[in-house]
Symmetry: C2
Subunit: 246 residues, 2 copies
């Protein structure tokens, strides 16, 4: 079985912690990584505080193959992600000539003020993540991918950076609707999980269209045969289930 | 100025990290805490792995006044939050007689199987978080509040536990629409932020109804007079802004 590639996400922004902005990036990146065969292992959300950003970044980047950050690369005083990343890596940071040149094409001299020029500050040695439609670039330094907080821009950056990432064997997933309450399948499901060690079996309760408690069962594995064997066991269990009421 | 009360959130669940389920709890709790005067400082999302849960829980509970966890208290084998919390606190865990008694009222002997009884396992010394409409209780042990992952149940639990929490002076917030691009306000905003040290000023770009780039500016402070002074400075700055285009 081939290598497993892991990742962490670091969301940076006071506005997420205050609840003013509801994060939409974690779910998107999580699903994206699953689809390209990278295992998301941990997410952290921290404030626009340099020491907090550096501490979280260091914890994640030493632990996982990749770290994806979102937020804090705009033109205002609270956008400090690039500086924090440079400090974490112990490298300098300066206006990137290629980015400055693009900004000069786009903005008049009056509009290209100090605030906008901040968005051209890139840690030394980082690779730009940019395209014609992305104004302020993201960047990749070491195993850290720094992206915008605005979902549409972050998503465009994921598309640019994804082909350059190493990825492992994709985690396969299959799900079945139990038509039973979670408490009715919990016991037998535990036995199936024990008997199928290279699979991960999850159980997710929900209310169905008739507002009756129901459960989705999800089997995940990198090995299609082991996935199929575990799913067969789950389906046999469900067929034999003696459910009195729902 | 009165005490500041801080909190962390720990979201527990493979389904969030795989992207299968999109978290709705972080944003809700974040806004809720802001409204009752508790500062959310950090969020972590970890998998259904005991060692990961304990490590994150220990990091957060020693650092912040409160930790709110969501997920992993259901009836299946992957619901291991209560056990992990008991281990983190170094206490035992057993079926809570009060919860078992309620389960016996609700379920027949056949339905009250081992899986459902798991939901009655509560760490020693914890206080139950429950009501007539909540089936499996949450609990509070030390400064850790353990809640369900299903949003409606988690929200009911927040309502039960919130009145018992100490809270600080509420962070006040006022926002103004800049009618300018973020890059046009970045420079003057930095000066205003420097001149008003007991406030936090945030800048959030968005596309308005005409798809033009626009910016919301948010001033936050615990002191209403300092908030007003900073907001006045922001509004004066905006009135004098020489914006060529948007």
């Amino acid at each position: 079985m081939s290598e497993i590639v892991t990742a962490g996400i670091l969301v940076i922004g006071d506005e997420i912690l205050s609840g003013r902005t509801k994060d939409k990036n974690i779910g998107f990146i999580a699903e994206y990584l699953t689809n390209i065969g990278i295992d998301l292992k941990e997410v952290r959300v921290v404030a626009d505080e340099e020491s907090d950003i550096i501490a979280a970044l260091d914890a994640l980047r030493h632990r996982y193959d990749y770290v994806f950050t979102t937020g804090g690369i705009g033109p205002t005083h609270d956008d400090i992600t690039a500086d924090a990343v440079a400090k974490a890596f112990g490298v300098g940071i300066d206006h990137h000539p290629e980015v400055v040149a693009r900004f000069k094409e786009r903005w008049s001299e009056q509009d290209l003020n100090e605030a906008r020029l901040r968005m051209a500050r890139i840690p030394d040695g980082a690779d730009l993540i940019q395209s014609a439609t992305i104004l302020a670039p993201g960047f990749k330094i070491g195993n850290v991918i720094v992206m915008a907080g605005v979902p549409t821009i972050m998503q465009a950056m994921m598309d640019i950076v994804a082909p350059k990432l190493k990825s492992g064997v994709r985690m396969l997933s299959e799900s079945v609707r139990a038509n039973a309450r979670e408490g009715d399948v919990g016991g037998p499901l535990r036995e199936i999980a024990k008997a199928h060690p290279d699979t991960v079996i999850g159980s997710y309760p929900f209310l169905d269209d008739e507002k009756k408690p129901n459960t989705n069962l999800v089997v995940r594995s990198r090995d299609p045969e082991k996935l199929a064997a575990a799913m067969n066991a789950v389906k046999e269990m469900l067929a034999g289930l003696n459910v009195t009421t729902r």
